[in-house]
Amino acid sequence: MSAGTLYDKVWELHRVAELPGGATQLFIGLHLIHEVTSPQAFAALDDLGLSVRHPERTVATVDHIVPTTSQARPFADPLAEAMLATLEGNCARHGITLHGLGSGRQGIVHVIAPELGLTQPGMTVACGDSHTSTHGAFGAIAFGIGTSQVRDVLASQSLAMGKLKVRRIWVDGALQSGVYAKDLVLHVIRTLGVKGGVGYAYEFAGPAIEALSMEERMTLCNMAIEGGARCGYVNPDAVTYAYLKGRPHAPVGEAWERALAWWSYLASGPEASFDDEVVFEAATIAPTITWGITPGQAIGVDETVPTLEQTDSDERPIAEEAYRYMDLRPGAPIEGLPVDVCFIGSCTNGRLSDLRAAAAVARGRQVAAGIKAFVVPGSEQVAAEAEAEGLDAVFRAAGFEWREPGCSMCLAMNPDRLEGRQISASSSNRNFKGRQGSATGRTLLMSPAMVAAAAVSGHVADVRRLVAVPMTPAPETATTRA
């Protein structure tokens, strides 16, 4: 059993009561809501005659259903319009802050909460969205929940939960130039499997993790759920504190000093023990890309599609299903595979550093003929910062479309989607069958820089050969915020 980890300490501090069924009632420090998984929760609250216990601890935005071309109201899609109108009504009625379109603070829920300083170390964070694990990047314990649980958090600011085991994912060394957190997490999932993390929280630690920027840590924790782990986290450190300082909801003055002391105390100490540990070597990881229909079906860009003989017997049926669906031959190289659509964005990779990395590849090049390529900033703030440094112009000059913020083509809940058998190079998080809106559409997951490389090449390409990628990310500071 784990002891002395950040997970254990945060769990203890947030434990409200032990429930008769054997679950623990856990206090939730930050509750994030959006238009897709909240309307039925508010309706259930009404049915029970309950109110929102802590409206100041719930924050709303709209992301999944918003168009990324024109965001004028009412939306062309009446269902999308009804969902947003319902969210607006529920937030107004219960006194919940909604960061709506045009507020300057709207965006993908897992992008805006960190950039506003809402997500802080040591908090429990819940949201009706599986990628809530993103917030673990700050040393928060953050996990996705269903709509019945959204109702429970609204009513009680708590949830009935079972405690997870803790697996430390220790990453030695340093990532190569052109290799990012996205490649690292795809490599981890490829190695441990999409069900390897079920029952675990993943603590990411080691020299390669400490060297990651906050935005890269968010990419890493975002995809913990794709490895089956409901939450993933990184212990808070100087990188975390530098990111948080000056954000709108970050403590200031003496409160900041007290916060630092508490946050530092929560980090897993040298005495911490884990239920399990797996060690990786960062330097051996290549730009990594999925070839199949689960995020675990991933290979280095310089590898070939695994044959059945190279596949564990348990995994062979889904490998065969993937060969058929993706129309890929076992043993074929992935590099050089033609793509139709290139998508840069999502809660995984729609932040400023992601756009900078992609723009560094796109700069001075042209999107290959016949390819649709577009960039969707993760939030209005990301869009403003990117535009302030001219990234939109770089993308437009290269033939990319520059869109408005939203979840876009990560999932098919807005006008952005694949058509027919199209194959996408996508910086998002899921390559499930039909995920991007066509029942026969195909998705290759990769880093934003690799998506840009595919866009300008017309096919899957090794970004390491295209550009000398700067090793040091630009500093993350709290700027341009109201």
Binding site: P20, A155, K195, A259, T294, P317
Partner: protein
Amino acid sequence: MSATPFPAGPIQRCEGRAVVVPGDDIDTDRIIPARYLKCVTFDGLAEGVFADDRTERAGDHPFDRAESQGAAILVVNRNFGCGSSREHAPQALMRWGLRAVIGESFAEIFFGNCLALGIPCLSADHDAVLALQAAIAAHPGAVLQLDLEPPWVTLDAGSDVQAWPLNLPAGPRRMLVSGEWNGTAQLVAHDGELRATASRLPYMNAFAAA
């Protein structure tokens, strides 16, 4: 589409025909494609259940076969319900008529979402699930009897009666059989405990001096 009432109160057993959806890692996007999530109630979700898979199979999907109609128990393999946290997935299955799921393993969020609806997800080892699936295939339309205490499934095809032990963790099992699986009232009732917990979390008071 569901003729039987939704789960309510103590859940100790479930009886009905089975529908088998074989394969590992069946994600919630496949159970209910995202376009069906454009709604503000769960009412119409039954029509979207496995929509794309059913189109692809052109009438031959397990959910479209004659012997599956009216089924109450879904039988799956490993890591069923992975991916998106959408409660729309178990809601769609429930509204189609399902009241329990048996499989080799389940994704955690899916398991919890089912529990919150009073739908038990019971597991068994690989060989047992394959044997159960084979027995269902051999006796199309046969009725399964599912018990939660102890967890056990019996297939009664007249001359051929087979049974397998199942697993359901003690906590969820207690919640289901006691009827306390929908615990909002219980959480809300702990007002004093909630206040005490909030008071020891420094961020709840903006890190003000003690």
